[in-house]
């Protein structure tokens, strides 16, 4: 069904990914049958609320699922190679060279007792063996300067806690892009930062990414960041992908009631009542049969099909793919949410 060759413009292809949590009462499905693609050079935003499985999906891509969680089935192909079949050593090489990673708080991934410069130099040498310490440090200065860290020679002598959050995140970007990866994975890279610093870091991330021409998966809960940075967007809810498409299409006319509810919840300038999706997301253990969003969905009320049959992603007239049995009704009725809220 899918073309095996890597030259169809697809860089990363995740197919039918299922991640389970191993518990005393058996496995619980956390990420359920997720499939998506990332094309060369594009920015895909994965948007979802806490517990939606957006971070776990990308941790699985990197082979970094925490203990107690495992990929149960599916495949993850990077340039045609199934990452799930690689050894830990091979994966480590992929992570350093082909995939660069940026996490929310780089502080936790640094040794607080060692100077920043020597830690970064060590990371550079891991993937460029044979580089002398001095050359590695020179490379670190160059990288830091490229992401807008002023006076890197002085700052490199400081300890991690002496770096501001914004500067630490720039250092993270510099390191993640040091080996010109083809794919960057950024998981809530600016969530811990203030808004003026967030915009600086996002600008730095965008210009660095453009320079090396890599694709990026940006994981965020912030629809504003998604709108500003993504070319395509994927919305997750309760471990499943519920809608995906070009960012302009999804924002203009969403094809899934959850997407529509999320967009309506974004606070605008008006002081009127905010739209709120009723209820809250289920925990994976209590995920209802059929569509996981059905208990909160205005379209599903009184409909057994929503309760019984898990909807699959399908193309819609608005240009997006959405997993909803009755998406056409949503597209036809623009005021669906006002009726239900």
């Amino acid at each position: 069904m899918f073309d095996k060759s890597a030259d169809d413009g697809v860089l990363l292809r995740v197919k039918n990914l299922v991640i389970v949590s191993e518990g005393p009462d058996g496995d619980v499905v956390i990420v359920d049958d997720v499939s998506f693609e990332v094309r060369l050079g594009e920015v895909l935003c994965i948007v979802g609320e806490s517990g939606s499985g957006k971070s776990l999906t990308m941790l699985a891509v990197m082979g970094l699922l925490p203990a107690g969680l495992r990929v149960d089935s599916g495949s993850i192909e990077l340039r045609g190679r199934d990452l799930l079949k690689l050894s830990e050593n091979e994966l480590r090489a992929v992570r350093g060279r082909e995939i660069g990673m940026i996490f929310q708080d780089p502080m936790t991934s640094m040794n607080p007792l060692r100077r920043v410069g020597s830690q970064l130099a060590e990371a550079v040498r891991l993937h460029q063996r044979g580089l002398s310490r001095r050359d590695a440090l020179a490379r670190v200065y160059e990288l830091l300067r490229s992401v807008g860290v002023p006076q890197p020679e002085t700052r490199a002598k400081a300890f991690p806690h002496q770096w501001s959050g914004g500067m630490r995140q720039r250092a993270m970007i510099a390191m993640a892009t040091a080996n010109d990866p083809v794919l960057l994975i950024a998981d809530e890279p600016t969530t811990a930062l203030d808004v003026t610093i967030q915009s600086q870091v996002m600008d730095s991330l965008a210009s660095t990414r453009e320079k090396i021409g890599s694709a990026m998966v940006l994981i965020t809960h912030d629809l504003g960041l998604a709108a500003e940075n993504a070319s395509r967007i994927a919305i997750m809810y309760s471990g499943r992908l519920v809608e995906t498409g070009d960012v302009a299409d999804v924002f203009r006319q969403p094809g899934h009631a959850y997407t529509k509810g999320l967009l309506a919840s974004v606070l605008t300038g008006s002081r009127e009542r905010a739209y709120a999706i009723p209820g809250s997301p289920p925990s994976p253990r209590d995920r209802p049969g059929g569509c996981a969003f059905a208990p909160r969905c205005p379209l599903a009320q009184g409909r057994t099909r929503c309760q019984e049959e898990v909807p699959v992603l399908r193309p819609l007239a608005n240009g997006t793919l959405a997993a909803c049995h009755f998406a056409e009704e949503l597209l036809a009725n623009e005021s669906m949410l006002e009726l239900s809220s």
Binding site: E49, S50, S164, G166, M167, D194, V195, T196, I197, Q198, S199, Q200, D203, H221, D222, L223, G224, L225, A226, A227, E228, V247, A248, F251, R252, G261, L262, L263, S265, V266, L267, T268, G269, S270, R271, R273, A274, Y275, A276, I277, S280, P281
Partner: protein, 330 residues
């Protein structure tokens, strides 16, 4: 001049909070965490306090509850000076003013049931009444069957509802809300904000609403105060400040917030604010914002700009407020 709304419920006048920091050797330094802040809050009104980390907004809140060293100024709650209140007075004060915290996960005692959590302040005050607690919980959207459960069984949004019920138990008139929806998901944020709006109307509550999220503040606040490095740099009606920000810092804040609309956000001009907030122990001379300000001039380093009114009710602390940020940069 007599205010038509009468006495403010909360009045902060020229408040100063200072910390001494020692660096091992040499003279100790004084950090002016809050430096001459004046704010007032009336019944039924929401004042949004906006600022980035380190601007002193948390220190200011702590001062209201006697938890920061007040070096000067005055805090009045319901007409009573509580700047240096003792234990007994603080207990009385809790009948007037309560706090809702950012993190609904750590603010609730995990060993207590939700009913006990809301009942606790009433017990301490010696007027516990089981039915009243249940009514309160019901009012914030926690059902009777849920009230015997512990916080660990609740989602973030439900926990914040419990936190609000607890804060309301003693029927205060002022709620201090410290980033109350920042830890919540987008779809839940709106639920909690709507609840806060309803409760305000019902009980005539006054809110001091602290947040770094401009869209949240814009949604809920009547008035806005913007804080930078311990001082208020702009203050005014929410609409006026958002539509016509006059301080360059306020303008930068508004320009930095991402817009959830791909057709608009792609066209917006590049953001201009460079650099990071200065160290509060070593602030620039004159205006603290001048080290990042695209329109700073010599005078800004020499003198400290005071809050001045431009329109009735709208003031800003800037010598050159009329220069738009983009014109100054080019």
């Amino acid at each position: 001049m007599m205010d038509v709304r009468g006495e403010p419920l909360l009045d902060i006048d020229d408040l100063r909070v200072q910390f001494q920091v020692g660096s091992g050797f040499g003279a100790k330094k004084v950090v002016k965490a809050v430096d001459g802040v004046s704010l007032s809050l009336h019944s039924g009104q929401t004042l949004g306090l906006v600022g980035e980390s380190g601007c002193g907004k948390s220190t200011l809140l702590r001062a209201l509850f006697g938890l920061s060293p007040v070096a000067g100024g005055k805090i009045t709650v319901a007409g009573k000076d509580v700047t240096h209140a003792g234990r007994r007075e603080r207990r009385m004060l809790s009948n007037h003013m309560q706090m809702v915290f950012q993190d609904p996960y750590s603010a609730l005692d995990p060993r207590m049931t939700v009913h006990e959590i809301v009942a606790e302040p009433l017990r301490v005050a010696g007027r516990y009444n089981s039915r009243e607690v249940e009514e309160l919980l019901d009012r914030v959207g926690v059902s009777a069957e849920m009230s015997t459960r512990r916080p660990s069984e609740f989602s973030g949004g439900q926990r914040q509802r419990v936190g609000i019920a607890r804060a309301l138990a003693l029927r205060p008139r002022v709620l201090i809300l410290d980033e109350p929806v920042s830890a919540l998901d987008v779809s839940i944020q709106a639920q909690v904000l709507n609840l806060l709006g309803d409760l305000q109307q019902e009980f005539g509550l006054a809110y001091l609403f602290v947040s770094h999220d401009l869209s949240v503040v814009r949604h809920i606040a009547d008035e806005i105060a913007v804080m930078y490095l311990g001082r208020i740099v702009e203050r005014g009606a929410a609409d006026a400040v958002f539509r016509g920000p006059e301080h360059p810092y306020t303008r930068s804040l508004l320009a930095s917030a991402p817009i959830a609309d791909p057709t608009r956000s792609r066209q917006r001009p590049p953001r201009t604010l460079a650099g990071e907030p200065p160290d509060a122990a070593n602030p620039p001379s004159g205006c603290a914002f001048r080290s990042r300000c695209p329109q700073a001039q010599d005078r800004c380093a020499e003198q400290l700009p005071q809050l001045r009114e431009s329109d009735p009710g709208h003031s800003r602390a800037c010598f050159f407020p009329e220069i738009p940020i983009r014109a100054a940069a080019s």
